[in-house]
């Protein structure tokens, strides 16, 4: 039996283009057309200078700002993965997004490690999730958790 679906995001007019981009296989974040600031939370207008915003593709690379190792299967969609890692990744453009660090059980994961973002369709999910893989895989042959 497949795991239950993760909770669906409630998409709004400010965030719709982010989700449209993921459906096309791209990660695009909100950016100000005047001052160039990258906005972690999509907004119709820039929080710094009130100019209009657009969604621009990001490089998809970043570093682990912090992370957790989930052992207690409190979220049914991912109960079969425990223990698994959720990393809070700071994209090279600035904003942070949380996501599962695929193929990791916690050992060898550290703040500061480089990661690459990818889009993952978890079973039954309404949209594709932003997930991560370490750029340099762990030295020890840990079993890879499969989505």
């Amino acid at each position: 039996m497949p795991p239950p679906a993760p909770p669906p995001p409630l998409i709004d007019a400010d965030s719709a283009e982010f989700w449209q981009a993921t459906r096309e296989g791209r990660i695009a974040l909100c950016r100000c057309t005047r001052c160039g600031a990258w906005l972690a939370r999509p907004l119709e207008r820039c929080q710094h200078c009130a100019a209009p915003t657009v969604f621009e593709p990001v490089a998809g690379t970043g570093a682990i700002y912090s992370y957790i190792v989930v052992h207690h299967p409190a979220v049914p969609a991912f109960a079969h993965l425990v223990p698994y890692v959720i990393a809070l990744v700071e994209f090279d453009e600035g904003p942070r997004l949380p996501g599962i660090l695929l193929g990791e059980g916690g050992t060898g994961v550290a703040i500061g490690q480089r990661v690459r973002a990818e889009l993952t369709a978890f079973p039954g999910a309404a949209e594709r999730a932003v997930t991560y893989r370490r750029v340099e895989p762990p030295a020890t042959g840990l079993p890879a958790a499969r989505p």
Binding site: A77, L97, P98
Partner: protein, 382 residues
């Protein structure tokens, strides 16, 4: 018109349990009646009601009607979590000080264990809007995950150890042993702490508070009136809040600190006090990691030194300040922080029995974790 002073005149609560078998409305009504009875006021005298919830409680007017208060000049149902546990009391004081109300009931009621469990990732009340839409698909949706993310960053920045977190859990459990109302009173050793199962690394079992069913209520009235009632009034020295960075758990600038790094300046400016003046501190402790950050942010010790402060016994009887004499949310129960106000008032009245902090004159209550929260200082009436 001169601003009149306000005071807490009554406190009330239900039993704390894992399965109340009752509605939040019934429990809120019991706690409100108990608080009014404690003060010696009649329910019909209530003209203001303030509460907070995440859609898991009863409305203020509904609770007021249930106790026979049908004509309110103020009713505020605030939507949010433990970050509002100071807001509700601060606004009750403000309403009485301004003359908007004479008798305000503040309550929080929830079936936190048998109903809507905050620790579950499949509760129906979860709404993945705003920032949460970017966390939903990875299941990054429950508080133990968010606060553990802060705690991991704290470890990275300050070299905080597992034992540092453990010292906080052990201290509160030790205090809870003297509290008959506490849900968890069995002592926990450091070995117990370290060998308990992981919940969400860096948090183990004893780093996490206990989801609880129950209700707590306070009654706030004018200081003059409170002086004629059953108990010594408990005054407020002031309060300060901080609702920062749009409430973002992921893009809060520095995850080794919390809202408290911003609220501290307002708290100490509004009260004219400093950490050394505080005898009792009821620190919001949904998780040990919350205390780790906020205790230092409010200036009780240098950042990164909370674990050592607790290990040296400075957060307990005979130390600098007694932190969570009731056992906190970790051991007394998770009444979303309103039980901290109950304990602070008990301590300043001198009614805390075996766990009484000697000569307590100032009690701090903090509320919230992560990007938003506040703190309030109670004072004795002399």
């Amino acid at each position: 018109m001169a601003v009149r002073e306000a005071a807490v005149a009554g406190i009330g609560r239900t039993a704390f349990s894992k399965s109340s078998g009752r509605t939040p409305l019934a429990m809120a009504a019991e706690a409100a009646r108990a608080a009014l009875d404690d003060a010696g006021l009649r329910p019909s005298e209530v003209d203001g009601i303030i509460d907070f919830s995440t859609g898991d409680s009863a409305s203020g007017p509904d609770v007021a009607r249930a106790i026979g208060a049908v004509d309110l000049g103020l009713a505020m149902d605030l939507q949010g979590g433990g970050n509002l546990a100071v807001t509700v009391v601060g606004q009750a004081f403000a309403a009485v000080q301004a003359g908007t109300c004479d008798v305000v009931v503040v309550f929080r009621s929830l079936n936190g264990r048998s109903g809507n469990r905050y620790g579950r990732g499949d509760r129906p009340a979860l709404a993945m809007r705003g920032d949460m839409q970017f966390a939903a698909l990875n299941g990054y949706v429950i508080p133990p995950m968010w606060i553990a993310m802060f705690a991991q960053r704290h470890k990275h920045v300050y070299g905080t150890t597992d034992e540092d977190f453990g010292q906080i859990a052990l201290t509160f459990r030790h205090h809870a042993a003297a509290n008959p109302h506490a849900m968890l009173r069995q002592p926990v050793s450091m070995d117990d702490y370290l060998s308990a199962r992981w919940i969400c690394e860096p948090f183990r079992l004893y780093d996490c508070c206990l989801e609880t069913d129950g209700a707590v209520a306070l009654v706030v009235t004018s200081l003059d009136r409170a002086r004629d009632l059953r108990h010594a009034p408990v005054r407020m020295a002031g309060f300060g809040e901080a609702h920062t960075h749009g409430g973002s758990w992921t893009n809060f600038p520095d995850l080794s600190e919390m809202y408290s790094a911003y609220a501290a300046k307002r708290l100490w400016a509004s009260t004219g006090l400093r950490p050394a003046d505080i005898d009792v501190a009821c620190l919001y402790d949904c998780f040990t990691g919350t205390v780790m950050a906020t205790f230092a942010d409010f200036g009780f010790c240098p950042k990164g030194q909370t674990g050592a402060f607790f290990a040296e016994g400075r957060a307990s009887y005979g130390g600098d300040v007694v932190v969570n004499p009731h056992g906190g949310l970790l051991s007394e129960g998770y009444l979303h922080g309103l039980n901290h106000h109950f304990e602070a008032v008990c301590q300043l009245r001198g009614d805390a029995g075996e766990r009484q902090v000697p000569a307590a004159r100032h009690a701090l209550v903090t509320a919230g974790a992560g990007p938003a929260g506040g703190a309030l200082i109670y004072a004795v009436d002399q």
